[in-house]
Symmetry: C2
Subunit: 343 residues, 2 copies
């Protein structure tokens, strides 16, 4: 404004007042336009680059009425892996911290766990050791920590635990280790008429306990690995009780199976970060019309973790090769994300 | 109008023209109000009686903002059994006609089926005989008629069959044997912010092939009995192949299990017609706040079929007792429904 005032004085009455006012407005607009645009950008935590452009280009073409690639809202299904795609997964899947804490609380009553697998590995936080015990070992851990509990008791226990559990190196509450750019992407898609689903190898009940509060994703849109459930009456009241058996391992080929079983429609957009997501991405892009497949590539050792082909958790090897061959969008966390976690 | 014209003539100019016009309008309104109200009634195929009143009363209280029993739209989940609740189920579940026709087409290649159960009973249309072979027998029928087919091939085959299959006694196309009053109820609930789900013992894939066209219920809201699926590449193209194993028998206690697995929320309204729906109704009403449980009682031998406690298909015995004890709404088809099937 000072500049404008001086201009008025030096030019005397030769410049009309309306022109000066217009000039002042124009200057003010120039000054704040950068900040204003950033505030309006629904993907403001994304740097301008190929990944952001590809996402925006895809959403634009499937939502533009009259476009050859327009997709009706009811078919705008977007699926997201959770561990490593929506929130962090290192040094081990966060649900595994929960299982360890549950085991620790019960271990005084089970001295034999110190020497018996998979309990020995689990109590030592050795995910590789647990994984080596296979489906049978995982079922044993579920039996020890979840079985016999009603679905309501389980959800309550998860939320109690999440309220205090902290990450071993960042010391953050775990639900604050979600990726801010991906949260923006979920909102952006929903604002454009998409329905956003989680399709994760993690436990379905575990994620449903908090996914709505943290991601805005309601329980019926959370698909995960599932254990057996049993209906029974306890004190005359109907309950659903968790059992040890496994119904679905929602990983690798299990992801398209979970999608078909729960949604019965093929997604038009899928995002993952590991070889466990490869089949979900293949299934998505094999449909007709416009499709989008994206991979989050963990390249930022400083702000998060850097890992891919050699990692025991979230290994990204074959899916990365396929992404490069087929032109899937690979998000480079270091280059593409201004910010990793919520402020 | 003729009456009004005469009235004007006899009264000369003493009655102003505006009053005559108002009188004419009033007469016309009186004449058409009955017809207009019927056209506006979203449950016009229901007779005025306790069942209709209970449904309307429930919907009114859960949708009235500020009411003590108001329910947020996202929690307005309504679940419906299919066979015997949304469409007919006599003399046998309609999906069984499909299985028989598939078996018949293949039987020349399988002469052994004439003497081997469950094929012998199935080919003879003997549902009781098939049921006696238990889960193993049903799995054998699925293996023979569905297994190895991709999900897309299966849906296509179901729709091809439905286009020509006719009911053995009414000779109607099967999708015209849906209940008009229940179709109105589905629309009425959706117009009031409910999401309507099918939760049926029938095959999930079988129902999804036509539920959207016939009931307006999208695939992700159709829960049914499920077989195993397998992801594989055929000629480099990803497909989902149906296998013989059974994942869920969505009947009796399996219904609340299916609801929890797929929706993860407890419904506030449930409608069934047989003992297979009893646990779903119990699970629904055991939640807090306003709840609605309804049973369709097949009482109309003339317009449909009359059966309950002794029926081998759609047996309604224990659930009817519980309905009477607990005050669930029992719809008497003969008394409560003006019309059974669509015109």
């Amino acid at each position: 404004m000072a500049t404008v005032q001086r201009a008025r004085r030096s030019t005397g009455s030769r410049v009309p007042a309306w022109m000066l006012r217009a000039g002042a407005c124009w200057l003010l607009m120039l000054m704040c336009s950068g900040a204003c645009l950033a505030a309006q950008d629904p993907l403001s935590s994304w740097n301008d680059g190929p990944a952001k452009q590809q996402i925006q280009g895809f959403v634009h073409k499937v939502t533009t009425a009259g476009s050859a690639e327009f997709v009706e809202p009811e078919q705008r299904i977007a699926v997201f892996d959770n561990d490593g795609t929506l929130w962090a997964e290192q040094p081990i899947y966060f649900q595994f911290f929960f299982v360890i804490d549950q085991l620790k609380a019960q271990s005084p009553q089970h001295p034999e766990w110190k020497t018996t697998e998979p309990f020995k590995s689990a109590l030592a936080g050795d995910f590789k050791g647990v994984a080596a015990s296979g489906e049978k070992g995982i079922a044993q851990l579920i039996a020890a920590t979840h079985a016999g509990m009603t679905t309501e008791e389980f959800a309550q226990r998860v939320n109690q635990w999440l309220a205090t559990a902290r990450h071993p190196t960042t010391h953050r509450v775990l639900t604050e280790m979600i990726y801010q750019p991906m949260r923006e992407l979920l909102h952006y898609l929903r604002d454009n008429g998409f329905r956003t689903y989680i399709v994760s190898g993690g436990g379905q009940d575990f994620m449903r306990a908090w996914a709505q509060a943290v991601y805005g994703i309601p329980p019926e849109q959370v698909i995960g690995s599932e254990g057996e459930l049993k209906f029974e009456l306890r004190d005359g009241k109907p309950v659903l009780v968790k059992e040890a058996g496994i119904v679905l391992i929602d990983d690798h080929g299990g992801k398209p199976v979970g999608i078909e079983r729960f949604i019965g429609r093929r997604p038009i957009l899928a995002f993952g970060n590991s070889d466990g997501d490869q089949q979900m991405l293949e299934w998505t892009v094999a449909g007709e019309g416009a499709r989008f497949a994206g991979l989050v590539h963990h390249t930022d050792a400083q702000r998060e973790f850097a890992y891919d082909r050699q990692s025991s958790v979230g290994k990204l090897d074959k899916a990365l090769d396929e992404a490069m061959t087929k032109g899937w969008t690979v998000v480079d966390m270091k280059k593409d994300w201004k910010q990793i976690f919520p402020p």
